[in-house]
């Protein structure tokens, strides 16, 4: 579902955008069973600012918590309001599959896979070796042209922006990524917070491309453009 992909990505992107670099980073509400029969049990949704400048979401009088029981806190107001809007949008039953920002926040807060920043950065860089943009086909010529026209500018842009070299190849093994490239990107990514990296990882998984994800986050591409570029082969057919 094309639209779902867009939505997932834009969710993760909004997530990254509102958690900029170096951002300094309580009820018994549980998600428990994810059955669709969970009714809306609250009237009002509001936000409040807690200690340390972190924002919390309140359903009626109770504070929102993550699935593992931690207090749900976000670093800035925009994200808090967006999450509150998601909860407010639920009508009679609570549909968790529509609450994407909430889910992403929970992932960032709970960190269920218990990973630290370095591991996430390494995982992201590993993806570069299988980046969609670097894999070209030899035929049909229409698709080759399309790939050249659409993907090459993005590659060029990222090479200029980050001062790295990433080749493209049409063999099964993929391009050789020099160590210098990886180091520079690693350095760049280390300056971001865990929240940012959580969102970024999600985008990369959806788009199957680190290059496109960085392009989108740096405002070089819009969400729709990035999704389109990611699905070039399917769109061509």
């Amino acid at each position: 579902m094309f639209k779902s992909i867009i939505r997932l990505k834009s969710g993760a992107i909004s997530f990254c955008k509102v958690c900029p670099r170096h951002q300094a980073f309580r009820g018994t509400l549980k998600y428990s069973t994810a059955s669709a029969d969970r009714k809306r049990f609250y009237e009002d949704v509001s936000i409040s600012q807690g200690e340390g400048g972190l924002y919390e979401v309140n359903l009626d009088r109770r504070k929102l918590k993550t699935p593992s029981g931690k207090l749900f806190t976000v670093p800035n107001e925009a994200l808090a309001i967006a999450v509150a809007t998601e909860w407010d949008a639920q009508k009679d039953t609570i549909k968790f599959y529509t609450m994407h920002l909430t889910t992403l926040c929970n992932t960032a807060l709970d960190n269920p896979t218990q990973r630290n920043k370095d591991q996430m950065i390494s995982a992201a860089l590993k993806f570069l070796e299988t980046d969609t943009i670097c894999y070209r086909v030899d035929e049909p010529p229409g698709l080759v042209e399309l790939q050249k026209n659409e993907w090459d500018p993005v590659l060029q842009w990222i090479e200029n922006r980050y001062n790295v070299t990433i080749g493209s190849s049409s063999s099964i093994l993929g391009p050789e990524i020099p160590e210098g490239t990886k180091d520079r990107l690693r350095q760049h990514l280390s300056s971001y917070t865990l929240w940012y990296l959580t969102g970024l990882e999600f985008v990369i998984t959806q788009l199957k491309s680190l290059v496109l994800s960085l392009g989108m986050i740096d405002r070089h591409l819009s969400v729709e453009q990035a999704v389109l570029l990611s699905r070039l082969e399917e769109e061509y057919q």
Binding site: K3, S4, I6, I47, R219
Partner: protein, 110 residues
């Protein structure tokens, strides 16, 4: 959507989505006021390449995309997703029978 580049258009679209989500009282909602505030704040600037403005613009486009896509996804889900099994009462009703009732409840039920 053709060209969404004018901020006014993006703002209107976001507010429309919020109205769909929240119904009639959307003007009192947090998101409505926040969005309007943000757009007003970023409106006045002399420079052509004001970075904060570009960032805000990109963020607003992204959020709009999120709202629209979530709405479409929900519609698709309602259209195609399986509704689950019917309860025994419903199944009996399909063939014109009714389940027997036992006054006083069954022995093992509390």
């Amino acid at each position: 959507m053709a060209s969404l580049s004018s901020p006014l258009r993006v703002c209107r679209e976001i507010l429309k989505e919020l109205r769909v989500i929240q119904g009639l009282s959307y003007k009192q909602s947090l998101a409505y006021n926040y969005v309007l505030d943000q757009f007003r704040k970023n409106k006045v600037t002399e420079e052509r390449y004001c970075r904060a403005q570009q960032e805000a613009r990109h963020a607003s486009l992204t959020y709009l995309c999120l709202l629209v896509s979530t709405r479409n996804h929900l519609a698709l889900h309602n259209l195609y997703h399986g509704k689950g099994e019917r309860s025994p009462e419903e199944v009996a009703g399909l063939v014109g029978l009714r389940l027997p009732t036992q006054p006083g409840g069954k022995g093992w039920e509390k």
